[in-house]
């Protein structure tokens, strides 16, 4: 994804400090990087700042990038770190418990709307601990494989697996409240 025919050429030129070449790379990757920082930070302002930071840092670090990983993987690593950095620095705006409560108290009527569902999923992701949040965003939003996630985060595949497992379990509970019917059958089957 996002790999153009001449990405190698653009990379080589950017490494020499060619801003126009790098501009093209930014154009090719900005949506994906912003999507990642948006889902990880949970709001557009922090997402903007994190993505900006990521692209500026990436340009400066490009000389050190030797291509042992894919550029996309490498860029994602920088973006994840930028996003986590922002989360760490800012005081938590939404207490995870509050967020979960907010989801449940939304009126049922509005839940039907696709838009509201999207918001709920977004909030559920935002209420996860950062590690799990990053894992689930990389897997289910960005569509990376376990191996790629391990490369982005520089952790063993086993760690990816367990983070993702815990993330989905937490999400499962948060989202179960959205559709009472489904949740009900779930609970029943678990109680049995």
């Amino acid at each position: 994804m996002g790999v153009t025919v001449d990405e190698g050429t653009l990379l080589a030129a950017s490494r020499r400090g060619d801003l126009t070449a790098y501009d093209e790379l930014v154009g090719a990757y900005q949506d994906r990087v912003y999507q990642l920082t948006y889902r990880v930070t949970g709001n557009p302002e922090d997402a903007w700042d994190a993505a900006q930071e990521a692209f500026v840092k990436a340009f400066r670090a490009l000389k050190a990038f030797r291509g042992d990983a894919a550029f996309s993987t490498w860029l994602h690593r920088i973006a994840v770190n930028a996003a986590l950095d922002i989360i760490r620095r800012r005081p938590p705006a939404l207490d995870p418990l509050d967020a979960a409560a907010a989801v449940t108290t939304e009126s049922v009527d509005r839940m039907v709307e696709q838009r509201e569902l999207q918001r709920a999923i977004h909030r559920a992701i935002a209420s996860l601990p950062p590690d799990q949040r990053v894992a689930v965003v990389l897997r289910d939003v960005q569509g990376f494989s376990y191996g790629e996630i391990a490369a982005v985060l520089q952790v063993p595949v086993g760690t990816v697996r367990s983070r993702l497992s815990r993330a989905r379990d937490a999400l499962r509970h948060a989202l179960a409240d959205l559709s009472p019917a489904r949740a009900h059958s779930d609970e029943q089957s678990e109680w049995r």
Binding site: V26, Q30, Q35, P44, R110, V141, L175
Partner: protein
């Protein structure tokens, strides 16, 4: 607890991320265990929900900001030392520096024509200069096209106000139009009246800033100048400030737009909309002012008040006109001489320190050389 153990593996199982043996094991377990089957199904739905999130697009202006940040940082990046430090290099560097200082001083004295010496600096497009100075070409007074690159971003609003007594009003009015058009400008405004049989009028010429001096000179040649005011207002600072404020507001606007995408409550939407309207109004206002400044700086304005001379004697020979012409010709020559003298004075004073230092250098180098040759002996 085998069930818990299996639950840990259900998520990777879902992704097909288990090894063949583990995969088969989970497969077999799930087939026999209803609880794990339900759990797996619920996990699958969860993952699907997350995957159903709409793709997110970055707000407008993101790429441009990255580029702006990088090019701002880029200008401070390259730093290189001279490969070898030697007397010729030092002397050359000193010479370049001095010529630079010299030309900068000269430029500063010459540039704002209307302010420094409005009377003596009659618009002369090209000021003669010594050929031995390797400075960038001197600017024609008030002509941005001739300014060196250092100052080419400056925004200066140039205005002139001239009152002319002319012999034939109609002819001058036509000439003014021609002059403006030939310079690539136009007559923005013209008013015409007849006062006791004496026609008079006001014309506002807008011409490209680069042609300001030439056009002013040409207009002055059309009659006897009775009033003259030339102004130049440097609006660079305001211009840059406006640009920055507009950029900030635009970013703010983008953010508001992205808030709007997320807002669901009508009250939120209304509040955002209100903010958005305010920000957009402000952007429009600032952009308008920016355009006005840009236009004012690009097109100089020359207001000309033209009045036909009152013919006191209607004889065969109009002596009053002749005397006026003679006076004008005389004054013009005197002005040119004065401006030439001033230019010489300014050039000499700018050059004096350079010559002194050069003499000093020459002496030092001579002394060192002499000392070296005597050492060899």
């Amino acid at each position: 607890m085998p069930a818990t153990h299996m639950k840990e593996l259900l998520s990777p199982f879902l992704d097909g991320a288990l090894s063949g043996r583990e995969h088969d094991e989970v497969q077999r377990h799930v087939e026999g265990c209803a609880e794990c089957r339900a759990h797996l199904e619920s996990l699958r739905r969860t993952a699907e929900s997350v995957r159903s999130l709409d793709p997110v697009k970055v707000p407008e202006g993101f790429q441009a900001q990255v580029r702006a940040r990088l090019s701002a940082a880029d200008t401070t990046a390259p730093r290189r030392w001279l490969p070898r430090w030697s007397w010729p290099v030092a002397a050359a560097a000193a010479a370049v520096l001095l010529v630079g200082v010299f030309s900068a001083n000269l430029l500063r004295e010459m540039r704002p024509v209307g302010q420094v010496a409005p009377e003596d600096f009659r618009a002369e497009p090209a000021v003669p200069r010594p050929s031995d100075v390797q400075a960038p070409s001197l600017p024609a007074p008030a002509g941005p096209q001739a300014l060196p690159p250092v100052v080419d971003v400056r925004k200066i609003v140039r205005t002139a106000e001239l009152a002319l007594d002319v012999d034939r009003f109609d002819e001058v009015a036509a000439r003014l139009l021609q002059t403006a058009e030939r310079a690539g400008g136009y007559v923005a405004e013209s008013a015409y009246a007849e006062d006791g049989g004496v026609p008079q009028g006001t014309f506002t010429l807008r011409v490209p800033a680069a042609r300001f001096a030439a056009v002013t000179a040409e207009v002055e040649g059309l009659g006897t100048v009775t009033h003259r005011r030339i102004g130049g207002q440097d609006v660079t600072e305001e211009f840059v400030d406006l640009q920055a404020r507009i950029r900030n507001l635009e970013r703010h606007e983008q953010r508001l737009l992205s808030f709007m995408d997320r807002a669901t409550k009508v009250s939120d939407l209304l509040a955002i909309e209100e903010q958005l309207a305010r920000v957009r109004g402000e952007i429009e206002q600032l952009t308008g002012r920016l355009r006005f400044l840009e236009r004012s700086a690009d097109l100089a304005s020359i207001a000309v008040m033209v009045r036909q001379k009152v013919k006191t004697t209607s004889g065969v020979w109009d002596f009053s006109g002749t005397i006026g012409k003679m006076r004008a010709a005389f004054l013009a020559t005197v002005r040119q001489i004065l401006s030439g003298v001033e230019w010489l004075g300014v050039t000499a004073s700018a050059l004096a320190p350079v010559l002194l230092l050069a003499a000093g250098f020459w002496l030092v180098i001579r002394l060192r050389r002499r000392a070296r040759t005597s050492e060899i002996r």
